[in-house]
Symmetry: C2
Subunit: 154 residues, 2 copies
Amino acid sequence: MISEVTVSVPPKMADETFFLFARAADRVLKATDRLLAPFEICHRHYSVLLLIADDEEWSQTRLAKTMGLQKTRMVALIDMLESKGLIQREPNANDRREYKVILTETGKRTVKEIRSSFNKQRPSYLRELSGAETQEINRLLGRTIGPAVCQNDL
Amino acid sequence: MISEVTVSVPPKMADETFFLFARAADRVLKATDRLLAPFEICHRHYSVLLLIADDEEWSQTRLAKTMGLQKTRMVALIDMLESKGLIQREPNANDRREYKVILTETGKRTVKEIRSSFNKQRPSYLRELSGAETQEINRLLGRTIGPAVCQNDL
DNA sequence: TATTGTTATACTCTATAACTATA
DNA sequence: TATAGTTATAGAGTATAACAATA
């Protein structure tokens, strides 16, 4: 046996931001998916539900850009949510190429249920951070995403 | 047209940690891959190179666990790096089931080149953070990853 | 029995191009 | 001519089960 298996971050990787992001995002998104499993959706579906949750108007393309996905990927996401009766495509009279994506009544109820479920069981990855630290990492993540993520930035 | 496309983080998502992680990690890892493109490897390969860069001993399984990948995925990663002459599988006399994964001379040179390239062009996602903020996000990411990410934690 | 490296397989995700209907 | 939604397709990535060699 070569050596004891280390599962935590090796000291030499403690300042490799890209490595930390790969590990942390994987943990956070998997944990989120487990919390969402009872609702039979994953974190991407939940993002769509949250984005359209107030009565703002969202097209599929705008959803895709905001989530950093390609519009072609959004189709299947929306299809799935529609087949579960959580959202609805509504024709947009102003521009008949577009759809407005809106929550159904079931969708609104589901968002509330998920929100209350998330408030009850604080996910493990946040349990290790204080409230102030959670706010701080959210702020830094927002700065990392930046104001406009273009296709070819370094 | 429904409305102007917003590419930055919508205010209502500013505290949805999972959403921020999805967007930020995507940006960071894609930017890292672009910086690594001249070396014809991606961020995962670079993680392997960094982990084995000093003379510590690493088996494929240990690499997989440390990177949060399955051992089955590590095989192709190691195959690729070996075919490019950057690393070498060396039989481990103490346990003949294992290989020691080590850098070749070319591999050592490549790691140095990448390090110096990364020092020259600071990636855009870090450009928006100060040195102190970069240290802070690295620390918080480490805490997020936690001491031992098990398979079924919430 | 359990573990290391490996193959095979199926499934999801991603990237790209192209089509249609509208603008 | 450009854009929204869509389809098709090929390539990565992921998850799972199984196997041979070794412990």
